[in-house]
Subunit: 344 residues, 4 copies
């Protein structure tokens, strides 16, 4: 941490800061520039120190220099983390595709979709049983029944299942049925929920919050890692900006940034990232080219009757086309598409 | 809801849409313009209809025309809602000031602050027992102990208490101690929590989410109102934008907007809205001039040793100055400051 | 400037940086922390140095510590700048109201408005002759004819005139007619235009750009000041965010921030800041309470037939009401409303 | 255009609107829903009509349904526009790479870079002679001398040249030297400049503004097209959001969106889009996978001594690596890399 004094600061003020640091068990290294004096803080700093120092007389700014995250850092774990779910490995050379309906609606809808996405090369089935809904008057998911249908679909197709958990009290229930617990964008800073999914030891996928910086996203990851759960996947799904043509602004740069800062696998969700079905395929290709370890895609037998997010869901046919279009791009960046091979 | 056809749409496509609407128990009114054909949907529309119609051939856009919120609407309840907590009425002519430390740290700190803010004219005591913290390595609050200290402070000063609840499982506990349950910005779309605080029937204060539009904020309010709980206060606390000088961008226009759209009381939190103590007083004045029914202000005996948000907390002396500075502005817009009168 | 080394950096890398600084005529002060080594750069740094140092091996981050602006800084000029136009002084204790139509449309429209705003207490007449228009198919202003009408209106009412200049080639022409040259939000970083208005020596009002940080705004101010023109007023008019209910997000915190950082007067434009006529009066009050030195308000004889921005323009009657509503707030924060006194 | 009445609107108000439309030479189609009455406006609407109608009594909202742009629309010109510059065709099956230094600094620097990017497969040389600079104290380009050096470099390498023009008064001069005139992000709404470059008839590349929606970008394109100049290329370069890790948020979804809405070619600039050299190559691949017709890349002999934007510039070696990495992705989406073939 570095304390930057303002140009008018006095010797007395500088001494007071050095004194204060000493009281806190820290030391201060003085560096006098032409315009400013700067104090480097040496010792075990803590996050609140910034706020504390900023209030002292003569201080202009306080700049933290240790990154606030640790367990998610590449420095902490130089090797890429690989999350394994059944035969599927996320974080390595395989491009893993998770596909399925936004919400589980009926047995028929789910089974048809599960078979279709498997045939097209997906290796994980997605489907929401508990659905966050902006309005209380909209469909909020089938709940327990949805979970049971997902388990059935897994049994029939062999595809592991990912589904969202929204409340700390539901974690145990959802963990009984799901292979991967999804924490949604709106819950990225639901810290109690993060603690809870961390404790399960089960694979977790943490979506980026709508207005979360990459640093805040990694700090939320720390909550889960700090509970001893290293089975963690990140998922970019778009951020909120002034642009309204797309539902969100799909921030693909976050993918190489995460790969530089962290050892965790990172996948991309172009369905939520764009909100429009005709943008899903080009942006899926772009995500893979940017280095994503996987994709999460919404697929529905009849998007125009979907209870949720129909506008961004692909038909079976369009999902097949997407897989065919993504495949050569995956090859171009050295990724294998296991599913496709298996189905070929 | 209005369906806007694209300029190349065919008669057959238009007929298909009218047919589809009929199947759904709705009717379509055709209106042919020079450039476009438009279909007005008549009947009881449901929110998912937009997604459904957007997918039909020939459709360019679908525009909803009923506002998606109902119970929070001024049309639903033309009179202002007044939330009463003890002797305090929020939503009427009184300017209600809630003040206290960001986090409850010690009995001494809380009691001193409670006495000081009461003396300066505050009528509600704020203080966090459960604290959301971006990093798992920071202070997360005293929990139950904090709640007990708040109850003690209420007993001593007579000030009703507002404190945050973060998890659905904690609602019952917090409701036992608090007079007003606060739902924080990060939990504005924690729908399970909204249901739960709605069920208590206790006064609730719902902070605007960091990236929530005013419409989404009112939809979250609907969750609480839909549980039969009308004791609801809204609180503007700044939104996330590209500007980094302030911690958030304090969106004061939201105050007159809410007052136009809704009957609910709306207060402002310039401490979080700006993140810098020296901006709190001018922005408190601005909020009152914009029509806020109240203010929420962070106060700490020694901000430079605060465990949380010291940089935005006021000393006792600065809080007194703020109250003195706000008072003539409140008078200028026809608001009374009960607390000040009482202490005078 | 401070160079923060990454935790894995080697001694050789550190030495290479010290060597490089020496070549550039600078010195480096080493400070070794538990986790990081930091180098404070001493000497006359230049802005590009950051980019240069960031590329060197072992460097994690480079933090500038001198503010990049100088002439606009409070440190440079501790006394508030007062811009004088005729009898009007902007930047002192008077609250200066600039009012008039968005665009000059006809002699009748302008004269009627000029008389009405003068009667209600405005002290400067605004009106656009050259209008920026998002689409080439919209009204772009009367040009020279508009300027001549403004000069006529000044002659008749005695009100000084402010009007926008959009092109470097028009600066001389506009400066012949206007008392204050306005640089619009879209031109805040039109650096050639900033140079040009700087050279005139005439009072200039620089609006904040739609996506400009406060720092960038002050840097644009530096362009004008650097030409030797100190007659500069800043104007907050809203920034672009995700919120769509209002046309822009009116960032009133910028007012006390500017007053802390700079000696320049700062006024507020609630007409553009909100985009809705019914929000103009509450937000004008809020701007004054936040400390604005003045207001810029759009007024039109018949907003519903206005060629531009009718939705945010006030009728004469509503402008009178606004002045009456603002007046007690101005008094509450120690500002005088000259115009009102004159008209009373 | 559609007028949505509020639920409390009266018959008299509805009639007044129909009457008003008649006066304006338009007709209104009435459609009465359960909750609302809606009026479809038939006839030749004009953009200001929205503002006008919004002010009438009983009106809740006015929704425009004709897109405000015409010449840039795919409907206007169903075939893709191909911009030809020498042997290079932008907008077809070739992936066109424009590369070179951010700013022209010296003959040596420019010639070396021109030769290196040509050898690596670039087909157009970029380089700034007039540079927009946030601060007046930074390097603003070599001006005329820079233009002459660019012409020299073209002569030697045969590469056509693209360079920025910042002022309407410089258009003629720059057009004498450049093959493509670049309008920078900060000037996207410098409407006088748009008119001027439109009039030259020369190829123009229009960068997206930092806070411009896709619709506003296309409206700025209309300015150029409306002058009769159809030689227009769009360039996505990132938008401003709350994320600070990257210099901008590179909005790659804009590429397929533009290709759906418009016939104009669209390229991507990952150097400005990310601001960090190590993100340029992955994001260049992503842009190509999303369907970009070309790339604009900053290359410098020694980025760590560059006078401008060194942190985002590639060395010759890294540019070669980028070309090699992009090439298989281009092939995967059916694009040819002419330059690479030529150099192969």
């Amino acid at each position: 941490m570095i304390v930057i004094m303002n140009p008018q600061s006095t010797e007395k003020e500088i001494e007071a800061i050095l004194e204060r640091l000493k009281q806190l068990g820290l030391a201060g290294h003085l560096s006098r520039g032409v315009e400013r004096t700067v104090i480097g803080v040496v010792g075990k700093v803590f996050p609140e120190l910034k706020d504390t120092l900023e209030l002292l007389a003569g201080v202009d700014d306080v700049v933290p220099i240790s990154r606030p995250f640790k367990l998610s850092c590449r420095e902490f774990c130089p090797e890429n983390t690989i999350v394994r779910v059944g035969n599927v490995a996320i974080g390595g050379d395989d491009l893993v595709v998770m596909a399925g309906p936004c919400a589980v609606e009926t047995r028929q809808q789910l089974m048809d979709t599960a078979r279709a996405v498997k045939a097209a090369g997906a290796s994980i089935l997605r489907g929401g049983a508990f659905k966050p809904s902006t309005s209380p008057y909209q469909f909020r998911g089938l709940g327990d029944d949805g979970l049971r249908l997902l388990a059935e679909a897994r049994e029939e197709t062999g595809l592991p299942v990912i589904t969202e958990v929204m409340a700390p009290g539901d974690v145990e229930l959802v963990a009984r049925y799901a292979d991967i617990l999804q924490v949604g964008a709106r819950n990225m800073q639901n810290f109690i929920l993060l603690d809870e999914v961390g404790r399960t030891g089960k694979p977790v996928m943490l979506k980026r919050g709508m207005s979360a910086t990459i640093q805040e996203w990694l700090l939320s990851a720390e909550y889960i890692l700090a509970q001893g759960n290293r089975q963690l996947i990140l998922c970019e799904r778009g951020i909120r900006t002034f642009e309204t043509y797309t539902r969100n602004t799909f921030d693909l740069s976050a993918i190489p940034v995460i790969q530089k800062l962290s050892h965790l696998p990172v996948i991309a969700d172009p369905s939520h990232g764009t909100g429009k079905w005709y943008l899903v395929s080009p942006m899926a290709r772009a995500a893979v080219a940017a280095g994503a370890h996987g994709l999460m895609i919404e697929v529905h037998p009849t998007p125009d009757t979907a209870l949720k997010d129909g506008a961004q869901s692909l038909t079976f046919e369009n999902f097949e086309k997407l897989m065919a279009a993504v495949s050569p791009v995956a090859a171009a960046v050295g990724k294998k598409m296991e599913g496709l091979a298996r189905s070929g």
